[in-house]
Symmetry: C2
Subunit: 170 residues, 2 copies
């Protein structure tokens, strides 16, 4: 069940430049808060919530309001630079969008660690199933919840390990 797809690893600087370009294209203004929010977002390569982003940005630039973070995150989404995710907890999380392929998530129910993966065999099966039922798929969402090795070993008290971010091709 292999796969390939080379990962196009845009650097933070490249993403930031893409953001600035997107602003220009849309005749939107560059502001210090937009820049700071975007920079923090691009620097943080995880699934970040608006509140987390707000707190991080606040440390860099205390002159940002909650609403602006929401507005900027929406902007990043509309520019195709951020993807919105909803896991079991109530709040939305945003991740950096690579030009790479779609991926799914494996989530540890104990420590919250999120591992990304992609699997072509499953995607093919999904297409088949949908076709059989008369559907044409435009997108999908697959989330596997369970326990990671570390948490199963009992070692980690409640380790909010987080940090992880390369897509595992399986």
């Amino acid at each position: 069940m292999g796969s390939s797809t080379a990962v196009s690893h845009r650097t933070q600087a490249q993403r930031f430049a893409a953001f600035k370009d997107a602003l220009r294209e849309r005749s939107l203004k560059s502001t210090s808060q937009r820049d700071d929010i975007a920079r923090v977002f691009f620097a943080n390569d995880q699934h970040i919530s608006v509140e987390e982003l707000y707190r991080e940005v606040k440390r860099v630039n205390p002159r940002v309001g909650y609403a602006t973070v929401y507005r900027t995150v929406r902007l990043l989404r509309e520019c195709g630079l951020a993807a919105e995710r909803h896991f079991h907890d109530g709040e939305a999380r945003f991740e950096n969008v690579e030009e790479e392929h779609h991926h799914d998530h494996l989530i540890c129910e104990r420590c919250g660690r999120i591992v990304e993966f992609a699997n072509d065999a499953i995607e093919r099966l999904q297409e088949q199933i949908a076709a059989r039922l008369g559907f044409v798929i435009t997108r999908h969402k697959m989330e596997l919840y369970g326990l990671c090795a570390e948490c199963r070993s009992g070692r980690t008290p409640h380790a909010a390990a987080k940090r992880e971010s390369r897509v595992s091709r399986t």
Copy 2:
């Protein structure tokens, strides 16, 4: 990629009896509103939202409040008789729990139709992927979004076709 798993089709009456048993076991009281809400829920074999359930119950028994519907739905969930789902729209939807196997969802983005399906091959692949990444899966969520045949044909204006409910084994 076939599968089998005979479906244990509990009747509405059986589910209702199970609900009453669950109340007794927990020393909770049987009330007319609980009964009515449960009955309507068991009769409606789709993915129903709290608001829809509230409206339906209201027609049978106008003496029910919104909060009671929420509380009863939570109760049904805790008794293992209802499963909570979150699709792209903001509100939670609840479905009857059969003792049968897990299933996933295929959702038409135009008419909202929800088709259930199950596929063992995919489940096996999921286990493999998780194992390779050190995880043990406890549950998963897979949703395929797209367009159903009817909506693709252009015939149906915006047909909220709904109604559908047997799990397709593929």
